[in-house]
Amino acid sequence: MIDDSNSSGSNDRRRSRSYSGGRRYQRKPRYCIFCSDKTLELDYKNYSLLRKFITEEGKIRPRRQTGACAKHQRGVAREIKRARHIALLPYTGETWEESIR
């Protein structure tokens, strides 16, 4: 019984933290999305997918936020760097909305 209440308590805390911690932080996925969906292809051309893996400032999100496994996180990082090189993704945050002016 005590164990039960403890575990539910920690669950609640985790949930509330994931909602309150940082507006844009997506809730951590429990599994690597590339492992659970084999059809997802890691590609620098798919920049709309990669946008989910960068922060507003354009940094690559760490693994604790993306939930990706080590292998796929390496791939994500590689493809983001490629996409940055050909200006599909920003190196820094200032982009689109701001620069349209």
């Binding site: 940055r84 050909i86 599909l88 920003p90 190196y91 200032e94 982009t95």
Partner: protein, 96 residues
């Protein structure tokens, strides 16, 4: 012979003729290196995520190129000199 993906970003102010000229030069270099272009993809004029050479837009071309690895360095050297190309990238195509 390996398959590579070549992305070039061409200056947005150029007319079609100049773009064609640049692309044929790239094509000739690839042919000289003993390779060939499998397919060319025109993404059209796109907004850049950041400025390159003071430009906010660029014309993107994606090419699948079959080329012996020894001529990659040569091709890359040539593309750098080619003026209409603002940015280029050559990566090996991932097999999947």
């Amino acid at each position: 012979m390996n398959t590579y993906e070549l992305v070039v970003i061409i200056h947005p102010d150029l007319d079609d003729e100049a773009i064609d000229q640049a692309l044929t030069r790239i094509k000739n270099w690839i042919a000289d290196g003993g390779g060939k272009i499998e397919k060319t993809d025109n993404w059209g004029k796109r907004r850049l995520a950041y400025e390159i050479q003071k430009q906010r837009e660029g014309i993107y071309y994606l090419m699948d190129v079959i080329l012996p690895p020894t001529s990659i360095a040569e091709l890359e050297r040539n593309i750098i000199i080619l003026e209409p190309v603002m940015r280029h990238m050559i990566v090996t195509k991932n097999e999947s």
